[in-house]
């Protein structure tokens, strides 16, 4: 919402400076977004008088002028045709900046004659496009400041423009008068009484108006109109044009400019029809669907069923409360005008406006709310202005529907400001504040003014009082703890777990990423997503169309971007939500890490190698352990298709209870995402790891035997597809009490073993608990281990 200082002063009698006004507006909740003050850039210019002018000795079109100024007489060379003796001019002295030319004036020689400044044209001072000659003022004394002269004689030229942001609750501030009222309530001035007109109609309006029954309740509440005949349309007066231009509107014609004036002056959109182009009477109704209208913006609109429009006998002529139609629009030739003032249902306006994608000042206001009680008076006030500017004769007013009664009152509890906001404001001040805003107080009830649709309860009264008093006066007050003593643990076990997962993964050398929750459909499909249920109706781009089914695509795309920048080796992870469906709650927090390229960069110590699944497995197990997963995990094949089928596994507690996965990413997936592989990865379903069953923090006693432990190595030759875990479990099962652990320390494939065979070597650690092991004991266990392993794997002890 833009307005100018002089416009504000039409409604507000005030001595406040622009700075004071701006500060108050922002503090009142009408946040100032821009202030432009033309007086600032004209501040240095003063008036002068040409006391002598003669032709330049070397140039026909130049004149050498002697100009009286506040710094004595100056010689100025001037090329303007009107530069002559006796005129009062605006002087630019050396060192001054000329905004319209974007130069700073200096002393110079023009064709051999010295010039000590310049006399300005309107364009050079950015006052208008006028550049046929220099400014000639009809009054003013030598040395007067030009801005002072303008302020006195042409105030619109030095009018400060202020732009404020309007929150949706304050439609009243979409009119200059509403803004003035807020400032007056704050104490920055006094409201001037509104001019009200009453025009008696001298004849019957030949156009009548009706509202269809189905449109009355939630379409158009009241529709008033009158004909004004014999008007003379044409450019509106300069002051009106200046006003509109100052707030960025283009003056069109007196009739149209008058409606725009009321839109901004009183938050009161109006419409004018050229009555000679209206066929028959006007009817407000709902559309069937399929009707069309060429709007005033010269675009054709096609209506959906149920939109509210105004039609004559020919068809739709105006989109009620949003935009008029071109065929019945006013032009310079209009002589008979039908003026409309109506109150539209604001939800209906929002629906129609959104549906037709029309944004006009009228829609903006009708959607947020206008003052319905002003409807009939607006008719009179606008008629007066048309008669004043265009002449003519007004008919009586025709009306359909009724002005809605929006009167309501709420209890004013003057203690509430203290208890809710924490400010002490005397009850009397509170009542005075509300009255200044247009409320009427009866006992402890506050009646809401008709222009404040936002006030809907007692809490709103508190808000108004506090707002006008200024929230800057609010002093902080300590908030005691909710309970005595130390605060309780506030993170849930899952939140704590996420934190541990994050920090453990980072400690393992991964860089945490935060990638977008939405990805492109193709990438989502690669990871089992991309369904319509997870699709956005209005994505910002096709790259961000589907909710991610997995953290892998985001991380892999990040890897591809980094590879494109020349970074080939990396470890990335993300901890965040993935979406299994489109319903709230169909989301799950995962932690996923990827390893790309080599374990470390090129390395003098010879340790650099390509990452493999055992790196991912180690990191996954470390994170699982940190999260309290049981030590004994199961590894099953058959993971989803985006993993390498032979180099990946589901990790869990049995084949049904899956806690995560690790492995190599399928080369086709990497290809599709432009990642240079191989890439290994792991993913953990953080929430699926069982919480510890016991409540106690006690870890129990540790068992540390004093007896010497013994380690024995075995090597078995087995078929190539026998998994190490089968062998290890078999060995460990040989004597569960004695065998502390079994570790695989060597794998050898092929060679002398023959095709399809491999050798796996294990170390078995025996930890006696009651007596030292004798050789015979060890031999007995060893025999059992061999027996168990050969039985479980079909292998043989390697000789």
């Amino acid at each position: 919402m833009k307005f100018t200082l002089s416009w504000l002063k039409d409604h507000l009698e005030t001595d406040a400076s622009v700075d004071e006004i701006v500060e108050a507006l922002t503090d009142l909740g009408l946040e100032v977004e821009d202030v432009s003050n033309p007086a600032e850039r004209l501040a240095g210019f003063t008036l002068g008088k040409v006391v002598h002018a003669e032709k330049h000795p070397d140039a026909d079109k130049l004149r050498v002028c002697k100009v009286a100024t506040d710094e004595g007489e100056l010689q100025i060379i001037c090329g303007a045709p009107n530069a002559r003796e006796g005129i009062t001019v605006v002087v630019c002295k050396p060192g001054m900046y000329i905004p319209g030319l974007d130069i700073t004036i200096s002393v110079g020689k023009i064709r051999g004659v010295e010039s000590y400044g310049m006399m300005a044209s309107e364009r050079e001072l950015e006052l208008s496009d006028e550049h046929d000659g220099i400014i000639e003022l009809p009054s003013g004394e030598v040395g007067d400041r030009f801005v002072d002269w303008l302020a006195a004689n042409s105030p619109s030229k030095v009018d400060t423009m202020i732009e404020i942001a309007i929150t949706p609750n304050r439609p009243d501030a979409l009119g200059v008068r509403g803004i003035a009222l807020d400032l007056a309530a704050r104490g920055l001035g006094k409201m001037k009484p509104a001019k009200t007109a009453t025009i008696e109609g001298t004849f019957e309006s030949p156009i009548s108006v009706t509202i269809d029954d189905d449109t009355k309740t939630d379409g158009c509440e009241v529709f008033a109109g009158r004909l004004i005949k014999g008007v003379k349309n044409g450019p509106s007066p300069q002051w009106l044009q200046d006003r509109l231009k100052a707030i960025g509107l283009r003056p069109i014609s007196a009739l149209v400019d008058i409606t725009n004036f009321f839109t901004f002056d009183r938050n009161r959109p109006l419409h004018v029809f050229d009555a000679d182009k209206v066929n028959g009477n006007l009817r407000v109704h709902r559309t069937q669907g399929g009707e069309t209208l060429m709007g005033l913006d010269e675009k054709e609109y096609t209506f959906a069923p149920g939109m509210v429009v105004i039609s004559d006998d020919e068809g739709v002529e105006s989109i009620g409360g949003i935009m008029g139609g071109l065929p019945t629009g006013c032009t310079e030739e209009t002589t008979n005008v039908f003026l409309e003032a109506a109150v539209w249902d604001h939800i209906q306006i929002a629906y129609t406006g959104r549906g037709l994608k029309i944004n006009t000042d009228a829609r903006y206001r009708n959607e947020r709310g206008i003052d319905p009680a002003y409807n009939m008076q607006a008719m009179e006030d606008a008629t007066q202005m048309i008669l004043d500017l265009c002449g003519g004769e007004a008919s009586n007013i025709v009306t359909a529907g009724e002005v809605p009664d929006v009167s309501r009152a709420y209890k004013l509890d003057t203690d509430r400001v203290q208890s809710l906001v924490g400010m002490k404001i005397p009850a009397e001040t509170q009542r005075a504040t509300l009255e200044a805003l247009g409320f009427t107080i009866e006992g402890d009830m506050a009646h809401v003014p008709s222009w404040r649709p936002d006030v809907r309860g007692s809490a709103d009264l508190v808000e108004e009082v506090a707002r006008i008093a200024s929230l800057t006066k609010l002093e902080g007050k300590p908030m005691p703890r909710a309970t005595a003593g130390l605060p309780e643990q506030i993170l849930s076990p899952m939140q704590k777990r996420e934190q541990i997962a994050r920090r453990t993964t980072a400690a393992l050398g991964y860089n945490e990423c935060v990638t977008y929750s939405f990805i492109d459909k193709a990438a989502a499909e690669l990871f089992g997503g991309g369904s319509d249920a997870t699709m956005l109706e209005n994505p910002i781009s096709s790259e961000m169309s589907h909710m991610r089914p997995s953290l892998l695509p985001g991380l892999l795309q990040a890897a591809a971007r980094n590879q494109a920048r020349g970074f080939m080796d990396m470890a990335l992870f993300e901890c965040g939500a993935v979406f299994h469906g489109g319903e709230p709650g169909e989301q799950e927090n995962l932690l996923t890490g990827i390893l790309v390229g080599r374990t470390v960069g090129k390395d003098i110590h010879g340790e650099s190698r390509g990452v493999d699944i055992y790196d991912a497995k180690a990191d996954m197990e470390a994170v699982m352990e940190a999260l309290g997963a049981p030590a004994k995990l199961t590894y099953n094949r058959g993971v989803n298709g985006w993993w390498h089928p032979g180099r990946s596994a589901k990790v869990g507690l049995g084949p049904k209870k899956i806690l995560g996965a690790f492995g190599e990413i399928h080369p086709k997936v990497l290809d599709a995402l432009n990642v240079k592989g191989p890439v290994v990865a792991f993913a953990i379903h953080i929430a699926d790891i069982p919480l510890p069953r016991k409540k106690s923090a006690s870890k129990g006693a540790v068992t540390m035997s004093d007896l010497q432990a013994v380690e024995r190595d075995f090597a078995f030759v087995v078929d190539g597809d026998v998994e190490a875990l089968t062998l290890v479990n078999a060995a460990a099962g040989a004597d569960k009490a004695l065998i502390e652990n079994v570790r695989v320390f060597d794998e050898f494939i092929g060679g002398a073993l023959g095709e399809g065979k491999k050798s796996l070597a294990i170390t078995v650690r025996l930890q006696p608990t009651d007596k030292t092991l004798k050789e015979a004991d060890i031999e007995a266990v060893a025999a059992k281990i061999v027996e168990k392993v050969t039985k479980a794997t079909g292998g043989t002890l390697r000789g």
Binding site: T472, R481, Q499, G509, D532, M535, L536, N538, N562, P584
Partner: protein, 356 residues
């Protein structure tokens, strides 16, 4: 006997290596060594002679043994020194590469915020990112036609043909978690809700996804003055310097009265410094929870009141850690992650301080 002593002590001192030393040991105190032979002669002596010669021979034997041991150590030391002198490594060669991980600023700042509010008794609540329009809008006093809906640049989810339910939304703020938490635990309540939020906006300073933290405190007498105190405590702890706030009247459908909150700052050479100077920076929206919102959460507005606020986590991170571009947060550029990331063990706590 003195001759013997001088002979062996000198020889031991002059021995060149361990072999020579062993030779000398055998010569002197070995089974057939000179000193040993002399000791055998003791038996033939008179008791008087023995009383003199015995201790002297023992002393000599001890002296020679000590000298042998000392020399052995000296020789070993010399040999080690000689070996070490040859064992030279270039200490300027690079160390073994080790990957160093980092924590993203969003996670770090979320934990910082959590640590501060935890101390004031706020717990952490969470909610779904795909929300029903009821939780995201209606329950927050934003009915279907409200202009705020259009202004929020909402992402809607797709509805299958024939599914007449209103589309779900990607939550445009963390405020729906307020409602879900009120429904779950009722009042009194103190929560913060950090998380991802979404708005269809993408330019220099906007990304379609960003992070917010919502705060909600309901009690019987919690006022806006408490809100101001809580926020000032928060900002001062977060930025590590006393930060003043300025409240300005504003409007949000879900609070009443509503206030925009500015924090004190200065601008120097285009960079902002919080907690000093005369300028104000708008950082959050807040207010007293609207009675309709309390009702939507199943709480009686005649019994309970309190405040709510929402602030951008990304914004806080940018301000505190001097990160210029929001869009880079989500780009995962390794250089950015390493530069702006935090050490894995640098977990923010109040007792350890939130500023480094």
């Amino acid at each position: 006997m003195d001759d013997l002593r001088i002979k062996y002590i000198d020889a031991i001192a002059a021995a060149a290596d361990e072999a020579a030393l062993e030779e000398l040991r055998l010569q002197a105190v070995g089974k057939k060594g000179e000193v040993s032979l002399k000791m055998r002669e003791l038996g033939k002596m008179t008791p008087e002679e023995r009383q003199v010669a015995g201790p002297a021979l023992n002393a000599l034997k001890n002296e020679i043994n000590s000298a042998l041991a000392a020399k052995k150590v000296a020789l070993a030391d010399a040999a080690l020194d000689a070996r070490l002198a040859t064992e030279w490594l270039d200490v300027t060669l690079p160390a073994r590469n080790r990957r160093v991980g980092t924590i993203h600023p969003i996670s770090q700042v979320t934990e910082e915020v959590t640590a501060i509010f935890a101390d004031m008794g706020f717990s952490v609540a969470e909610g779904p990112q795909i929300e029903t329009d009821w939780y995201n809008f209606d329950a927050l006093n934003i009915p279907g036609h409200h202009p705020a809906r259009a202004e929020m640049d909402t992402f809607y989810t797709h509805r299958a043909e024939g599914d007449e339910r209103p589309p779900h939304v990607l939550r445009t703020h963390t405020s729906p978690v307020q409602i879900r938490s009120m429904e779950k635990t009722g009042a009194p309540i103190r929560i913060i809700c950090p998380g991802r939020v979404y708005r269809a906006d993408y330019d220099q300073t906007h990304t379609p996804m960003f992070h917010q933290v919502e705060g909600l405190a309901l009690g019987r007498d919690i006022s806006m003055a408490n809100l101001k105190w809580v926020l000032e405590e928060f900002f001062s702890a977060f930025f590590g310097t006393e930060v003043k706030t300025r409240f300005r009247a504003s409007h949000f459908p879900f609070t009443e009265p509503s206030a925009e909150v500015d924090i004190q700052c200065s601008w120097e050479g285009g960079t902002v410094k919080v907690g000093e100077g005369d300028d104000w920076l708008e950082v959050l929206g807040s207010g007293m929870v609207h009675p309709k919102v309390l009702e939507a959460g199943g709480i009686d507005p005649n019994e309970y009141q309190g405040f709510a606020f929402g602030i951008g986590i990304d914004r806080l991170a940018m301000l505190k850690y001097g990160i210029p571009d929001l869009r880079a947060f989500f780009d995962s550029d390794l250089r950015w992650l390493r530069h702006y990331g935090f050490a894995s063990l640098d977990q923010p706590t109040l007792h350890g301080g939130l500023n480094r």
